[in-house]
Amino acid sequence: MGNLRIRSRHQPYEIAVLAAAPVCGVLMLTLDVRPTSVQTSMPVPIQIAWELGLIAVGVGGLLGIVWPGRLSTGLGIELASVLVLGTITGMYAVALVAASGRQSIAATSFVAAVAVGSLWRAAQIAVDLRRLAQACELVSYEQLQAGVT
């Protein structure tokens, strides 16, 4: 029987970014400010979706991490959140490059790093979910074999 190991879900960088995202989104919404790069390089509906996405991603991701029910559901919510987080930060990185070019090297690097990290984490979660599904199949099969109730 393979070893069933789900990676720890308390990853400091991920939690910090997920916690910062909704704060950032709510502040931008309530204060009605947006980064110039986002304003110049996205259509207005996409801008609004981008902000709402930040909030949804943060709340959803943290919810998925502390999800009290099934592990698979929590992982799924977290997976969706980090996928969208990767998209949102990737969009922001592209917007930064488009708006400020070389001036934005530092900002772009870090934002792109968050995007890469999010997608990386998404891949990890996908692997974990597959392992979990395999383990569930394996356990029930072995139970049938052994006659364990």
């Binding site: 304003q39 110049t40 996205m42 979706a49 099934r70 919510i77 996928l83 969009m91 592209v94 488009a98």
Partner: protein, 131 residues
């Protein structure tokens, strides 16, 4: 809010970002939908999975342990029986040694006669019968 000045915003960037955003958003939704649809695959809770997996690991060990325990019990009772037998045999050896010594002294005695020796033997016979 500043009305978009858009000097540094080529149209293709807007298009690309829109496509990227829609793609990412729909991917996220698809991920949630997939997990919800495939929920049947994950029958157990996390805790359930872990305990059940542990159970499948522990089960053979447990049967092996009970097997070994019963074997150890058998071996111990057999050992007791054998020890009892050894005790009895030791006792018997001691008795026989004593008898042999008595006979030897009776035979080696300077005034040994056949009758005396016979008397000694009969005496030992009686004492063993008494026992």
């Amino acid at each position: 809010m500043i009305s978009s000045p858009a000097p540094a915003a080529p149209h293709w960037v807007q298009m690309a970002l829109s496509v990227l955003g829609i793609l990412g958003g729909s991917t996220g939704l698809a991920a949630i939908a997939t997990v919800v649809v495939q929920r049947g695959k994950f029958k157990a809770d996390a805790a359930d999975t872990l305990t059940e997996a542990a159970l499948t690991l522990v089960q053979p060990l447990q049967t092996r342990i009970t097997q070994l325990e019963s074997e150890a019990l058998n071996a111990r009772s057999e050992l007791n029986v054998l020890r009892e037998q050894v005790n009895q045999l030791q006792f018997l050896v001691r008795v026989l040694n004593r008898t042999l010594d008595r006979w030897r002294t009776a035979i080696r005695a300077p005034d040994a006669t056949l009758r005396k020796v016979r008397a000694t033997v009969t005496e030992t016979d009686r004492s063993t019968q008494d026992r």
